[in-house]
């Protein structure tokens, strides 16, 4: 990890609105076919209006509280903290309805879609968590939902497919390319081109064309805002020394960081070693935005490989690329073995079975505390993005 940047200098204005072109520094934008530009503009317009409308905010807040179970708890991980010689606080997105932070974003977008007069949600999904969240919101608001999912993921995540179908969603197998998440994104985008009239594309992370990376971060900032308030009660210094979250596309991290970007907290995003767009990627354009992307030396997109299906994404949200470039956030990687060990360790020490995605953040904290990279006594806020139920059969196979 690098030294702490001169936070005061750069933090002002961080994680505010992107430029009118949807840029975070040199990243972001709206690299979509001309066919989709008006649809993206319509989403942007609608989001700006809605986000400034107290009635919309009130509606969303009511759903987040009365339906999704917010605020989620902040749990001091006493036993693990003791073992590691730090103070570790867990922001419990695993307790949110449907089992991860994905619901925060999806409720926001689904309400927005309804407000725009759309009757159908389109979504891509990898592990199925975003697909389940989308199917859930569609059921709740009486909309239709179509979820694109790679054929390989469908086979790996049969239970989530069934959950989506029970919720009334149509799950469309994607057989192109690597038949995983990135191909589902392509396919959802392709489908959207032909369905913009009545359909809203509900993107699952801080990715895609403007305004999605910004909008999804805004819908997820509830994580960071809540955690900020909760830390103020829980920590003598009010603000933790470190704020840690796993990064696939980067939505739970973005939402978390947004609550702390204006503080002295060091922000750490943890990527899967096999899908580390920040560490191993190069600047490129994928799925409508410019960011760091895993690609070969020809510019062909590489497949990401992680034990956590939700981190199997070759890109990273553009704002993360920007925060990384600025040095305001630091991006690190952990390997599958550490991650699986971290799931087990958290289970045994705190009684929490977290998602493999979330375990990336846990694994880094364990490693950094044990190596001394995290100084003894450090206070750490970690966003536990989801629960591990969906991963049990994968873990059983590994066991």
């Amino acid at each position: 990890m690098r030294d702490a940047p001169a936070v005061d200098r750069i933090r002002a204005g961080q994680m505010a609105e992107p430029s009118t072109a949807g840029r975070f520094g040199g990243f972001g934008g709206r690299f979509v076919p001309e066919s989709l530009v008006p649809a993206c503009q319509e989403v942007e317009r609608a989001f700006r209006e809605a986000w400034a409308d107290p009635r919309f905010r009130g509606q969303l807040d009511r759903l987040l509280a009365g339906y999704a179970g917010r605020p989620t708890a902040l749990t001091p991980a006493w036993r693990l903290s003791g073992d590691l010689g730090i103070t570790l606080l867990l922001k419990r997105e695993d307790l949110a309805h449907t089992g991860s932070h994905k619901i925060n974003n999806v409720l926001g977008q689904a309400l927005l879609a309804r407000r725009m007069g759309k009757t159908r949600l389109i979504a891509e999904t990898g592990a199925g968590q975003h697909g389940v969240a989308t199917a859930t919101a569609a059921a709740l608001l009486g909309m239709r939902a179509t979820v694109f999912m790679g054929q390989r993921d469908i086979e790996r995540q049969a239970l989530n497919v069934f959950r989506m179908e029970m919720l009334g969603a149509e799950v469309v197998p994607v057989t192109s390319g690597s038949r995983t998440l990135k191909d589902s994104c392509n396919e959802a985008m392709r489908h959207w081109v032909g369905a913009v009239e009545d359909s809203y594309y509900c993107i699952g992370s801080v990715m895609g064309p403007h305004p999605y990376p910004w909008m999804v971060r805004e819908f997820q900032r509830v994580i960071g805002d809540e955690a900020r308030t909760q830390c103020a009660t829980e920590l003598p210094a009010a603000v933790p020394d470190y704020v840690v979250a796993c990064v696939g596309g980067g939505s739970n991290a973005a939402g978390t960081f947004a609550g702390f970007v204006d503080t002295s907290a060091r922000l750490i995003g943890v990527e899967a070693a096999g899908g580390a767009a920040m560490t191993d990627g190069a600047v490129g354009v994928l799925h409508g935005f410019r960011s760091r992307v895993l690609q070969d030396d020809q510019g062909q997109i590489a497949e990401a490989h992680s034990v956590a299906a939700g981190l199997d994404y070759p890109g990273i949200g553009p704002e993360h690329a920007h925060l990384g470039e600025l040095g305001r956030a630091t991006y690190v990687t952990v390997g599958d073995d550490e991650v699986v060990a971290a799931v087990h360790r958290l289970a045994r020490s705190e009684g929490i079975l977290c998602a493999l995605e979330s375990a990336h953040a846990v694994a880094w904290v364990i490693r950094a505390a044990e190596s001394g990279e995290l100084p003894p006594g450090a206070t750490v806020l970690l966003t536990l993005s989801g629960r591990g139920d969906k991963d049990m059969s994968a873990l059983m196979e590994l066991a």
Binding site: G194, V285, I301
Partner: protein, 256 residues
């Protein structure tokens, strides 16, 4: 002579521009298609530089791209294949932003004799960088308009497009179609209203009849998926060329 001058000349000659497509590197002998297309009366040829994640392509071009990439095709290999042959009509590259925005890309195209470039995932609002490097390299950057593009935006797209203006026939991806979409002619008419830059209609132009229909509203057609489908299904270059020739004949004999 620029592509634009060429296409204006085609128009002024009372002829409908016919631009068939091939996915570069789809077969070992893919460049044979260039000769076949030329022989069949094409006015220019669009060469797809395959990308792993072709967001605006339907199943046929996806399959063609995958097949080509699986053969080990790279931008380099396609451009060096071109170095070995000579074609008498303009070559237009078509690819996606992640390849097109790489350093030196446009210059390499130009060096290989490619005169123009179409990048479907770089819309007007994002075009500046690419516009600059294309201009610097002497490559004409063709912009696209879609049925959803507001008419008020067409003049700016037309002003900044080079070579021609690509009219996306329908709200959808590339791919064969039963009928030419109504939206194709509506869009082509709107573009003609806004500019005298040549307008070519693409996406779903699958039959001579489609081409003839489109030609009543536009200056030419781009024909892609139907040709790649035939090739993927085993047609020889000359059989694929015959399809282009059939379109040529239909266009040339079309009722005025």
């Amino acid at each position: 002579m620029t592509l634009e001058t060429h296409l204006r000349a085609v128009r002024e000659g009372g002829r409908t521009a016919l631009v068939p497509y091939v996915t570069g590197g789809i077969t070992e002998s893919w460049t044979d298609l260039l000769a076949a297309y030329e022989a069949a009366g094409a006015d220019a040829i669009e060469i797809g530089l395959p990308f792993s994640d072709p967001m605006l392509d339907g199943v046929t071009i996806q399959e063609a791209s995958d097949r080509s990439l699986a053969r080990g095709t790279t931008v380099e290999s396609i451009l060096s294949d071109l170095a070995g042959i000579s074609v008498g009509i303009p070559l237009i590259a078509m690819t996606y932003a992640n390849l097109a925005l790489r350093d030196g890309f446009c210059a390499r195209l130009r060096a290989a004799g490619v005169v123009a470039l179409v990048v479907p995932d770089v819309p007007l609002d994002e075009v500046s960088d690419l516009e600059r490097s294309a201009a610097a390299a002497g490559v004409e950057l063709v912009l696209l308009a879609a049925p959803s593009t507001p008419p008020a935006k067409l003049p700016e797209i037309a002003t900044r497009s080079r070579g021609f203006l690509y009219a996306i026939s329908r709200m959808g991806t590339t791919g064969e179609a039963g009928e030419l979409a109504e939206s194709a002619t509506v869009l082509a008419d709107a573009i003609r209203n806004a500019t005298d830059l040549p307008v070519l209609v693409g996406f779903g132009v699958s039959t001579p009849a489609h081409a003839v229909h489109a030609a009543r509203h536009a200056d030419g057609v781009v024909v892609a998926s139907t040709l790649m489908r035939a090739l993927l299904d085993g047609a020889t270059p000359s059989e694929v060329g015959a399809r282009v020739a059939a379109m040529r004949t239909a266009l040339d004999t079309m009722a005025p």
